[in-house]
Amino acid sequence: MANVLSLQEAVAMYVQDGATVCMEGFTHLIPFSAGHEVIRQKKRDLTLIRMTPDLVYDQLIGAGCAKKVIFSWGGNPGVGSLHRLRDAVEKGWPHQVEILEHSHAAMACAFEAGAAGLPLAVLRGYVGSELPNVNDQIKFIECPFTSERLAAVPSVRPDVSIVHAQKADRAGNVLVEGIVGVQKEAVLAAKHSIVTVEEIVDDLDTHPNACVIPGWAIDAIAVSEKGSLPSYAHGYYPRNNSFYKEWDAIARDRDAFTQWINDNVMQAGGNVG
C-alpha cells in the first residue's frame, strides 16, 4: 500500500547504492525532480534503465551516479547528443560507464514481459541488425509451432522504478494520462516503486478504462509539483523545449555542467527547467 512520503524520504528509503533503477516517462512525465533527489543524495553505482536516457540520465551520469546504462535511444530529442553520456562512454568522465543497448521494440517488450512476470520477452526483432553482436542479452529462439526464428531478450525487472504522474487520490491510486509510455509496466515490473505526482486529489475523476495504477501496487507516493519539468505533464504544463535546446551547451562542457548541477540541483530543493 502506497505511503505518502516526501521525495527525500522516498528516495532515501528505496534507492540503494548499487541498485537497478528505472526512471521512466516516454518524453512525457519524466521524473526529473526524483532524478535530482537521487543526485543530491549521491547515490552511486546505479544500473540505470530507460528507453530514452534523455536529460534526466545525462544529469545522473554526469553527476557520477551511474555504473551502467541500459537504453535504446540515447539522444537529446530533436537537438542532438547527450554529451554527458557520450563523455562517460567515450572518455570515462567522471568515470567509465558501461552501456547495454537495445532497440525500442525490444525494450518495450522487455518492460511488458517484466510487468507480466515473465523472464523473457519474445519479438520479431533485430533481424539483420548488428546489435546482437554487441549485446549478449539478445538471443534467438525457435517457435515450436512454426519453426520461425524469433528474438528473445530478458525482461526488465528493476529493484526500484520511479515515474511521475498527474495525480493520486488519498488512497494512493494514481492516474497517468496522455503519452503513457512504459510507465505502468515500469511500476508493475519493479520490486519497489515511487510515484511522484503533481497533486493529491479527493477523486481521480476518470473514465472506465483510464490508466490507473492502484495504490496497493505502489510503495511510495511523493507530491512534486512541476516534478517533470523540463519534460511535461499533459493537462498541467507543456514541455520546455527551449530548455532542451539550452541543455546542449550546458552539457557540452564539464565545468558548465558541474556548475549547473551545483546551482540547480545540489543547492536547490526542487526541480529546474
Binding site: 567515450e90 539483420g128 503519452i179 520546455n240 535546446k245
Partner: protein, 262 residues
C-alpha cells in the same frame, strides 16, 4: 548547399522535404521517425494526403500536429491524436502486428544496401563518435510494409560500408531479407537533397532514379562514398509547387514560434 538552389526560389532542403512528402500516398499508414521524416510526413498530410495516418512511436495514433514536434513525444502529438496507446502496445500491436504500410526513417549513415547506422562512428568498444542508437528503427525497417529513408547527401552520410548495422536495409551482401518469413519489403526509396534512389530489384544496390532540378550526376557521385549507379533513363524530379512551399514554410514558421515561445 548545392549549386541547385542558386537559381531557384527554394532550397535544396525544401526540395528534399517536398519530394519525400510526395512519396507518401493518401491513405497510407505511416510510422514516422522524428526530424526530416516527420517534416515530410506532415507536409504530405497538409497537402496531397489529408488522410495519411501518422503514427509515432510514443503511442500516438493518427495524429495531426499543428506544429512539428521537437521530440517524438511532444504533447501536441497526443492532443491531436485519435488515441494514444502504451509504447509496448505501439510496438507490439501496431508495428509488429503488421498495421504499418510505410516506415519513414532518417539516419546518420547509409550504405549501398540501405543498411543504416545510428549507433556510432568508429569501433564499438572505442567509438570516435557515439550516436544515439537504434530507437525504433531496427524493427520499423523489418516490420513495416516498406521503408522510405530521407537524409542529406554527403560522403559522411553515404558511406561505402557503415561502421555498424543498427538497422538492416538488405544486409552487407544485399541478401539479408531472403528467406526471412514475415518481413517487409525494406527500403524502397531514399530521398536526399540531391536525388531520389531506389534499390535495384535484384541486387538491392541503390540506384539513382531521379536528379533534383539543377543537380548533376557528378554532384551526386561526389557526395557518395562509393561508385553509385545511375538508372539508364534518369528522370528529373518535379519542382516543388508554390502551394507545397507555402505550406511547408508556414509549418516551419509555426513550429519555430512554438518551440521558442516558452
Amino acid at each position: 548547399m548545392s549549386n541547385a538552389e542558386q537559381n531557384q526560389d527554394y532550397t535544396s532542403g525544401e526540395m528534399m522535404t517536398v519530394t519525400a512528402a510526395r512519396a507518401l500516398e493518401n491513405g497510407t499508414t505511416c510510422f514516422v521517425g522524428i526530424g526530416l521524416p516527420s517534416e515530410a510526413a506532415n507536409l504530405a498530410r497538409l497537402t496531397h494526403a489529408p488522410d495519411v495516418v501518422l503514427i509515432y512511436e510514443s503511442g500516438t495514433v493518427q495524429t495531426r500536429p499543428k506544429v512539428l514536434p521537437l521530440s517524438i513525444g511532444d504533447g501536441e502529438l497526443c492532443e491531436t491524436a485519435l488515441t494514444t496507446v502504451s509504447v509496448p502496445e505501439m510496438f507490439r500491436y501496431w508495428l509488429q502486428g503488421g498495421k504499418i504500410n510505410v516506415g519513414f526513417l532518417g539516419t546518420a549513415q547509409i550504405d549501398r544496401y540501405c543498411n543504416l547506422n545510428t549507433t556510432l562512428v568508429g569501433d564499438y568498444t572505442s567509438p570516435k563518435v557515439r550516436l544515439p542508437g537504434g530507437g525504433g528503427a531496427p524493427e520499423i525497417a523489418t516490420n513495416a510494409g516498406e521503408v522510405f529513408i530521407t537524409l542529406k547527401h554527403s560522403t559522411r552520410t553515404f558511406v561505402d560500408k557503415v561502421d555498424f548495422i543498427t538497422t538492416m536495409g538488405f544486409g552487407r551482401d544485399g541478401k539479408g531479407r531472403e528467406g526471412v518469413p514475415n518481413i517487409g519489403k525494406g527500403p524502397t526509396r531514399v530521398i536526399t537533397d540531391l536525388c531520389v534512389m531506389k534499390p535495384d530489384p535484384v541486387t538491392k544496390e541503390l540506384v539513382v532514379v531521379s536528379l533534383h532540378p539543377g543537380v548533376t550526376a557528378e554532384q551526386v557521385q561526389e557526395a557518395t562514398g562509393w561508385e553509385i549507379r545511375f538508372a539508364e533513363t534518369l528522370k528529373s524530379t518535379s519542382e516543388p509547387s508554390a502551394h507545397e512551399l507555402e505550406v511547408l514554410r508556414e509549418l516551419k514558421e509555426r513550429t519555430a514560434r512554438a518551440h521558442t515561445g516558452q
